[in-house]
Symmetry: C2
Subunit: 255 residues, 2 copies
């Protein structure tokens, strides 16, 4: 591995990497590199696939349709995010922004669930995944969270893993204090469940509270919007039970 600065442009390329391997980039990435960023043959980019670290790659061919890069050398070992799921109800206007922030805040798996009071009743996973990839490229993650969709709270919880804690924002005031709770949760498998704009229905609350892995937490005296609650919970978890104490990344500035 080199100590040279990583190329500024980072691309998620879900293919196997090895020195001298040729990677044909997707239409979107090719367009971005050639048309938007005006890159030329011989220019370097950083590529990651979620498993093999970050590699330097050199643009070897630009055709009308696609850009091909040649993988050269590993410039960073793989760094994965803590095992932290975010289960969320899609919210009007702000779902994409919530995904973008969840990626920055290191969520490893994103579970979209349609709740009874949700205003948004469907999820476009393809579109959300594209947003997640873009956010991962920009925030210098080495992986991209996976997605799953669930038709209601019952089906989400029926498949909730035995060994994963179910942390849910309890806006009724009965939840535990995160500050007291989090230090005990370090290195555990965690999942956070955040409701939609109108909160959970009474039925949903009962189903959630009855789950054997459930643990309700409070977030203070003000009402947080659904997206704020998601960011806040992920932030506190990463700070106190996640990877904010990991060594700093090698380069880059705040965006």
């Amino acid at each position: 591995m080199t100590t040279q600065a990583s190329p500024k442009i980072r691309l998620f390329v879900p293919q196997a990497f090895a020195a001298d391997a040729a990677l044909v980039l997707s239409d979107n990435q090719s367009h971005y590199l050639a048309q938007v960023m005006r890159q030329k043959s011989g220019d370097s980019v950083a590529v990651f696939n979620g498993a093999d670290g970050v590699w330097r790659a050199e643009i070897s061919a630009i055709t009308k349709r696609n850009v091909t890069v040649i993988v050269q050398e590993k410039i960073m070992p793989q760094r994965s995010c803590p095992d932290l799921w975010l289960a969320f109800a899609p919210i009007k206007q702000y779902t994409e922004r919530m995904i973008e922030k969840a990626v920055e805040l290191g969520a490893s798996h994103l579970l979209a669930v349609i709740t009874q009071r949700a205003v948004v009743r469907s999820v476009n996973v393809e579109k959300l995944s594209a947003h997640a990839v873009e956010a991962a490229e920009q925030c210098e993650r080495h992986d991209v969270p996976s997605f799953s969709t669930h038709k209601d709270i019952g089906s989400l919880l029926a498949t909730w893993p035995e060994d994963r804690m179910l942390l849910h924002a309890d806006e009724t005031g009965g939840g535990k204090n995160l500050a007291a709770l989090l230090p005990e949760l370090k290195h555990k498998k965690l999942g956070v469940l955040i409701g939609p704009e109108g909160g959970f229905s009474d039925d949903e609350r009962k189903i959630i509270a009855a789950h054997k892995n459930a643990c309700g937490f409070g977030m203070g005296p003000r009402i947080l919007r659904a997206d704020t609650a998601a960011f806040s919970a992920l932030s506190c978890i990463q700070c106190y039970a996640g990877d904010w104490d990991a060594p700093p990344r090698f380069e880059g500035t705040q965006k």
Copy 2:
């Protein structure tokens, strides 16, 4: 004080409250009540002024121009936010949303500062204040943060109070771990400084680090956007050194 549920509509009315006092609402609030929410004479609203708690008030007159309410009884004692400032560089597209979230997360004073690398070079305080009022009404705060503007980092820090800590997000990786830092800061006067999209310039970094109240903190291995950094820092501070351990609010659901 009554134990009845608070009216759903909450309005910030910066006037003195006393039983039977008549309050003439602003043009915007009058329009909102009469035209948007279709309220009638005799309907109840909750009013707060940032000092005297939350009061029930009854609509007594609706004219073409204004709505007048009569203050009736205090329904909640004043609950103020912790003494936590947020100094921020306005950011393209997202300043209003950053203000909205800072209000939800209980910032008590908002300081807009124009930094060297900021893309946005001006601040419309009147517009931001209106957003802050709306956010405070919706999140059940009993106060509205104040605003100030500063032409550069030097002038911001020249007037920074002697007794207030200057917590700044240090994206170079040299900052302290918030989890280790925050428990010591409970009940202290705090201010968080967050840079713009492009981060602080080297000159600005030096000025900030040289301030005697400065304390840099890190937020993990991923790059956070400026607005994410602001929400995340405020969330961790409220959770660990702020009022998230306060008694829950009396009513309301997540929005």
